[in-house]
């Protein structure tokens, strides 16, 4: 609503000349019209304030570009996390762990850049991340965050696949999600061997999680500073 208020104020200042003008009948009608527009704007804003906010990035799920940008956003987040881990791994990491986290870093960079190129001019901008809740010097903290990112990534792709309309993108999403699931299993086994597909993530029907974008973005929001607006979900 803050942004909406800004917008209303902008509208008012633009219409300043009307306020200053003599209240001729025609001007009065214009003013009344502007007022009605503001009321409509406010009403619309209260119902769907996400639509009206001009800051941040917008994921418009009306077509495949929205879904791909959603994936691009998540890959940006994962890449930023692993770049930070790989550049200064926790002292508790073994050599093998350092090597594999280095690999994962580049997997996520490859995913991120793939989406950037595939989207071209339709790509959203770079997201500003917030990793203040992660202690990058502590192995357990890093592994816990990695597990959260990977399990969330898997659930996100699983839930988004059905939204895609283009065959090539359905295949690509499938090609990426299994790599994310391999990461998830690896990280989980580092935390507790044998937890690669335990009941936290796989239900009694043998199914992994599938989350809708709003669930995923809500879970990811603590790691993202940039405002993400979702429309046409």
């Amino acid at each position: 609503m803050e942004n909406l208020n800004e917008k209303v104020q902008n509208t008012l200042s633009m219409e300043g000349s009307i306020l200053d003008a003599k209240l001729e009948r025609r001007s009065f009608l214009q003013y009344a019209g502007a007022g009605a527009a503001i009321v409509a704007l406010t009403a619309a804003g209260c119902k769907k304030d996400k639509v009206m906010i001009p800051t941040g990035v917008t994921l418009d799920f009306k077509d495949d570009f929205g879904v791909l940008n959603y994936a691009y956003a998540l890959e940006q987040l994962e890449a930023a996390f692993y770049i930070k881990v790989a550049s200064a791994p926790p002292s508790g990491f073994s050599t093998a762990e350092r090597n594999y986290f280095n690999d994962i870093q580049y997997h996520e960079v490859a995913h991120r850049e793939f989406f950037k190129n595939a989207l071209g001019p339709a790509a959203i901008g770079g997201l500003e991340v917030d990793f203040s809740s992660i202690n990058f010097t502590d192995r357990a903290s890093v592994l816990g965050a990695a597990k959260a990112f990977e399990d969330l990534g898997v659930a996100a792709y699983n839930g988004a696949g059905v939204r895609l309309k283009t065959d090539a993108y359905i295949v690509i999403a499938g090609q990426i999600v299994s790599v994310e699931a391999r990461h998830a299993a690896y990280v989980r086994d580092l935390i507790a061997n044998g937890s690669f597909a335990n009941s936290e993530v796989v239900d009694a029907n043998g199914l992994d999680k599938a989350f809708t974008p709003d669930m995923v973005l809500s879970a990811a929001s603590k790691y993202i500073k940039t405002k993400i607006n979702v429309i046409n979900l």
Binding site: Y100, D103, Q105, Y106, H107, V109, A110, H111, E113, F114, K116, N117, A118, V154, Y157, N158, G159, G161, V162, R163, L164, K165, D167, A168, Y169, I170, V171, I172, G174, Q175, I176, V177, S178, V179, E180, A181, R182, H183, A184, A185, Y186, D189, N193, G194, F196, A197, N198, V201, V202, D203, A204, N205, G206, L207, D208, K209, A210, T212
Partner: protein, 280 residues
């Protein structure tokens, strides 16, 4: 499984799903009357019956074909692990190894039951252990007496499963069944990751949880020539027309990283050719 989500997804494809599922329709009364009596374990069957009643005889043939294809593979995987757990004493070390294989076996059984339930009367003839030859017609003669061989075949099956589901995804485009297939698919990928780590810990030094580039750039990173067909095209570096190697100036994205970052799909024919080695 969240049935509300599934119904919402179906609605995007079939705008009349709620009409079809209307409780006033006699066909649907039974399901809604079941109410709280449905337990989680009973859900696959219940869900399968909902779809059957809602669509009558019109469940698209291609979708049933995909589900039956998946069911065949799940039978194969289930019997492979189940025999190892119950009928090959001493094969799998106690503790974490038998724990992991039992977990995987249980997931494969759950997948069999889920797919059978979804297919209902359209489900293929059930497959028993005796319908399979897990030596691969003599390719892996000690599969149930040599733990390393067992792990190699297990890894091969899981990597195949991951690739097989991917290959069918476009047939299920926009259908709620795709979500379920993806949910199975990522579980198979988790299995593959763990089995590769088990294999690495038992002699296949350097084998990664993800499929990497084989020696000299070949597509098979396991070094087991007998499973070459399972890894065809895994050394691909072009994805949807985008070259992944060194993408946008990222020198760290090597050919090996490019191969690892994207798992490839197998066609149905390729999967059936692999599976036929193990089906009598």
């Amino acid at each position: 499984m969240n049935i509300v989500n599934i119904l919402e997804e179906i609605e995007k494809v079939d705008g009349e799903i709620y009409e079809r599922l209307n409780p006033r329709r006699a066909a649907m009364k039974d399901f809604f009357n079941m109410g709280k009596k449905i337990t989680l374990a009973a859900m696959p069957l219940a869900l399968g019956s909902v779809f059957k009643k809602a669509y009558g005889q019109s469940t698209p043939t291609q979708i049933n074909d995909v589900l039956n294809f998946a069911l065949t593979l799940e039978y194969l995987e289930y019997h492979f692990y189940n025999h190892a757990v119950v009928a090959a004493p001493g094969l799998i070390p106690t503790g974490a190894p038998i724990g992991a294989i039992t977990t995987i076996r249980d997931h494969e059984l759950a997948h069999v039951n889920l797919l059978k339930g979804a297919l209902g009367a359209a489900a293929r003839t059930p497959l028993a252990y005796s319908d399979f030859d897990f030596t691969g017609k003599g390719t892996f003669p000690d599969v149930y007496t040599n733990y390393l061989t067992f792990l190699k075949v297990a890894t091969a099956f899981e990597d195949t499963g991951v690739r097989a589901y991917k290959g069918q995804a476009t047939v299920l485009k926009g259908n709620a069944v795709l979500t379920t297939a993806l949910q199975i698919h990522s579980v198979e990928a988790r299995h593959a990751s763990h089995l590769r780590q088990m294999l690495a810990a038992n002699g296949a030094t350097g084998l990664k949880p993800w499929i990497s580039l084989g020696a000299g750039g070949v597509s098979n990173d396991t070094g087991i020539a007998a499973v070459d067909p399972i890894y065809v095209r895994e050394n691909t570096s072009m994805q949807a027309g985008v070259n992944i190697v060194g993408i946008n100036g990222n020198a760290g994205v090597t050919a090996a990283i490019a191969a690892e970052s994207f798992d490839e799909a197998l066609t149905k024919a390729e999967v059936l050719a692999i599976a036929s080695l193990f089906i009598k």
